[in-house]
Every structure is written in structure tokens, then in C-alpha cells.
Symmetry: C2
Subunit: 384 residues, 2 copies
Amino acid sequence: MPAAPGPASASPAASSGRIRVPAEAVRRQIEAILSAWGMRADGVAAAAEVMTETDLRGVDSHGITMLLRYDEARRLGAFKWAPDIRVEQETPATALIDADRSLGHAPALRAIDLAIDKARALGVGAVAVRNSDHFGAAGAYALRAARQGLIGIATTNASVPAVVPTRSTVPLFSTNPIAFAAPAATRRPFVLDMATSTVAVGKVNVAWLNDRPLPAGWVVDEAGRPVTDAALGRDYIYKRLEGGLTPLGGAEETGGYKGYGLCAMVEILSAVLAGATAMPLHPGGTHTKAHRDVGHFFIALDPGAFRPRAAFLAEMDAFIDALHNAPAADPARPVLVPGDPEWAHYDDRAALGVPLPLKLVEALRELARAANAPFLLPQPPRMA
Amino acid sequence: MPAAPGPASASPAASSGRIRVPAEAVRRQIEAILSAWGMRADGVAAAAEVMTETDLRGVDSHGITMLLRYDEARRLGAFKWAPDIRVEQETPATALIDADRSLGHAPALRAIDLAIDKARALGVGAVAVRNSDHFGAAGAYALRAARQGLIGIATTNASVPAVVPTRSTVPLFSTNPIAFAAPAATRRPFVLDMATSTVAVGKVNVAWLNDRPLPAGWVVDEAGRPVTDAALGRDYIYKRLEGGLTPLGGAEETGGYKGYGLCAMVEILSAVLAGATAMPLHPGGTHTKAHRDVGHFFIALDPGAFRPRAAFLAEMDAFIDALHNAPAADPARPVLVPGDPEWAHYDDRAALGVPLPLKLVEALRELARAANAPFLLPQPPRMA
């Protein structure tokens, strides 16, 4: 459960400044713009699938809104639109994929699908990807395995420095997420999808938009001191070379070195093992360059290789129920299972559409216009 | 780097109340007591190896001191001393081991060694263990893979409830550690070994022994409120049914739900997947019972299956150096790499011996006497 419901998760009644857009329209708009940029059909389909599902699951920071960032990257020459995504090295249980500078969704789907195939044959599959780019929400790939009855694990590094290691003054990692999903018999899959920072950048933006201070422990300055002014916090993240997000745990005293350790673990798996660009070796990141060379890492595990599959799935049901039924400090706020907030978003949005801020709809209209792509979202009221 | 140097890491000059004991004497004392309890030689050798190395690495909570807790467990009838540790299910890349109620070290060593063998053949090996018990420090098993040039991952659940899920009032998990180790060419391995709670129980004890308050965010009461009185904190951990340790991240606002998610992930891998006892399904834990049924999970990855091994190892050197050389907020406190504190302990203790509190030496003398085992530690001055 990475993201507490953000602003776009408001109920329909409270959705002033937003319109609800059917997921199918979101998907077609993504496809139209990526196609107009010159992306080959297989890449378009992969990106649209992952991004639309991410919007349905309420992870607004990683859905259709990413087209705005992909546009910036594309102007730098980041992507090959007809990449030769290929398996470079392989055993019956592992593979390395070279993404040939593709946007990340297509090579990541290929990698998790390959890991799933290998896990079906041998119980476990591990696939690394190098020479890739942003792949959206890590949870999408872990969940893909869970939907097929397997445990899925996905990690990625990225190109933008954001997280300051414990005791340091400069960001040396992206928010390096870990996703883990496990299937159940009748319950929805357990889906943990978390940045290894205390919070994602999006939460700082939400506090700023709402004129709220930042809790101490989200952002630190160049001396490691807490930054509680939200505007200043954004400065430290976006503009200044020093300071940034804390690793999960915050200060050293409250375990921040563990979040830093997890962040470094994700970098080792996703970049050093895959042969992609490890950010500590390229301070400042690669987001301002044409060649980003992001890396990902995936594991799929078949529960049937360890115990009867039905017994595993039934026990996952019981495990999920036990957490839901645990005594809650506040009965109005029951204990959640990782994935619950996203499943609630999914049900709401599959029925009522994805709430898009009018500002985003305007920006997408402009993006479509500039790309000579059709604009397929509902026409919102013109903004003042 | 799980544990900041604790009291036992004081320099020799400051070791009042402690004596330095050569690691070899620690090992022989462990062997003598376990043998006197009736443990078969292979189990004795495995436990003594892991526990002694753990003391050398400065993880005092999980070394020879654990004999006191194993004695309590043994009196409950927890262990089979001549267990039939066997592979129950196997593919070329995975295995399930039934530990037959062994103390955890022997089945865990067998499991990581099997994972290593499988990774050497196929690039990855994943091995689960059920029906086991406490295996010591998770880092020992991850490091065992790294020492052989592989990446190692180890997780375990345990039998004592300690960690309160976000929004709940009762502990439903042990401190469920994750260990991850990666080898380098000339640098010492990267070794992350962390409880998924904000701090381990041992740190609360150290604060209490030193009359220091607990930082808010370590321990919560039955309403989820921070407990800062160290004695009260120990009550919530050891005596009261409600309250306990927070998951990494602390409060929900500072990301505690992520630590809870990681804790639950470890429980799924170590217990639900392995077919061991998942604690949320047995509230109160199994530590007061003869049958604990703890589970572990291990993965080994051969970097050579993903890129040339030498390139991976050289880049790990550069990665470790880049972190060490990162600008530090306080030049007197340089940026650490996970594992650094333990390597510093290792060098110190390999040269000067393991510092054991006199109180512990006394307790071990009594344990040896009661077991009719020889007492092999240096005779400390008698305590008042």
C-alpha cells in the first residue's frame, strides 16, 4: 500500500477540478500519443496497458500523467521507438535482457513474463534488465505474477537522484521501489509496492498544494536537518544539489540506515547486477542525458514448488483475513493489508472512471496537439 | 548495518564489567553446552559456527548469549537433538527442507548451501525451510553466499510476537529480518542485516540499562501512542499483550506501513510459502510451546549468470567506494556501507577477543554446571 489516497482519489462528489474519464479512453489517449511520437505498436500496447492499470489502481503519479515526463525525455533523445529488446544471456532459471533504450514497460513486461515461464518450469525465475528507462509502477509487474498464481518481486532504479544516504548531504539514489505480490485463493492478491524512501516525491507535492507543513523526517537539508516547509522541501528535491528525501525510517536514530540499506540493495539488484548505470557511480543521475540506462530486476516464485499450491493459496486467504481482523486502535480505521488502498481505487475507478485533474487534461490536450495525435479524452470545461 | 555498536563493542580500555574471550573459547563453550544437552555433532558444529561468527561480528544479541534462551526452549521440549533434516520437495532451482524440529542453524546452513549449489548450476536457487527454530543472525547465511562470490538473501520469521502492524494494537509478527549480501572484488562484502521493525528489542534494553528515554517511534502502547519511558517500553514488549515495537518507519505518517508491509512479506516468504506457522494465524506466537515451527527462506544469485562476474565484482568495489566517499554532513561521522560496523567489530574481536559481560559469563558458568558440561571460558573475577 504505497500511497495513501491522494487528491485524485476524492469521491466523485468532491471531484471539483477533476473529470472522470473511462479507463478505455485513458488507454486510447496514451496509445494515440505514443504512436504519434513514433513508437512501435508492441511498445505502445505494453506502455498503455501498464499505465492504464496504474491509473485504475490509484497510483496517479505513475499513470497517464507520466506522458508529460516522457515528453521531456523524448526531447532529449532518450528513447528508441523501435528498439531491439533482446535476451543477452540465459539459463533455464535466469535471463538478462538488454532493452536497447526502450521506454521501460515493454522490456519489463517481457522480463516478468520470462521469469514467470521459468518459475512455472523450475519453481523460480530471475530476470534482470539493463539499458532501459522508466517502467511505471513496480507493483504492476509483481501483480502480473500474482494474477497467474505466482509470487512476484520487482525492483528498479531510476535516473533522477532523490534519496540522501544516512549521514550524507547529497542524493545518491532514486526512490528505488520494491514491489512484492502474492496470490490468494479467493482474496485479492497481497501487493506491497513501496519506495524505499520515507515518502514518494508526490506526497511532498500534495502537502505543498494543500499549504500543509511537512512532517519532520520526510525531507532533509544539506546538513541532514529536517525540512518542514513544503515549498523549501520541493526546492531541496527539485532544484538544490544537496538535501532531498530521507530513506525509509528517516533519521539514523529511527532506523533510516535500514531504508538506506534497502535502497542500496535495490540499486545492486537493478543496476550493478544487471549492468545498468548505478547512480552512486554517476552522481547527478542520468535524467538530463539522452542515455539513461535504467535497470530492473524481477523474481517469480511458484508456490507449488514448495508446498501444495492449494494449501498455499488457502493460507494466504487466512493470512489476509487475520490482518483485516486484527484489533484496530481506531475502529473507524481498520488494519489494512498491502494493496487494499489500490484495490479500493480499482473498484471505484473501473466503475466510475479515472479522475483526472483539469490541469492534466489541458496538458494532455496540448501534448496531443503538438504530436499531431487525436485528443480522445472528454472535453472538460475550459479553464479560466 | 543492523546494530549501531552496542555496549559490548566498547574498546578494551573501556570494558569494565566485561572480559575479552578468544573466539575459539567462545566456540568451544557453545559446543560443550550443546553437546551436553544431547545435540548430535553435526548440529553442534553448525550452531557453534554461526553463533561464534555472530559474536565476532558484534551482533551480541544473537551469539553465545542465545544459549540462555535456547535453554528455556529446550526445557519446553522445543528441540529434537538428532533431527532428520530432509529435503521434502525439489527442482533443479528450488527446494523445501523440513527441519524436523531442529534448532535452526543446521537446517539453515544446509538450505543456503543448497541454494548456492543450485545458483552455481542455474544462476538462481531458492530454498525454504519449515518446522525449524531460531537460526541466529540472518546475515550469517547471506554472507555465506557472498563469501563464495554469490548474492545471498535470507529471511526468517520467529516465535515471539513483537511488532504491531500499522493501525493495530497487538503484535502479530516477530521482528522478521531481511538479510542481503553481495560480494565485491577487493572490498569486503556489502551485508545488510535488518529487522523490519524500527529497532530490535536489544536497543530498547540498552536504553533501559543506560537510563535513557526511548525516541518516539520505537515502541507504541495499546492505542498506538509513542512510549518513551524505557522501562514501560520493556513492559509493552515483554509483559503486556498489547503494544510493542513499531514497524520500520514508525508512525503511519512517516511510512510505518511500509515496514509493516516488509514484515508481512518476510512472513509470507518464510512461513506461508514454506508451510511453517504464520504468526498472524496463531496470535500470541509459539514461543511458549514445544512446537514452534519457525520458517526461513533463502535465495542465492550467481552474478555470472547476468554479466561477466569480474565486471560485477569490480563495479561492487566502485559502488562501495562511492558510498564511502559521499559527502558527509559531519566529517567525523563518514557515510557507512551496510556491513561496515560489523566488519569493524570483526577485526577488533578477531584480534582482541569477544567482550562478554561478566554477568553473561556467570550465567554461562551456571548453564555449564547444570548441564554437566565443562566451563571453558576464562575465569572472571567473582561478582559481588
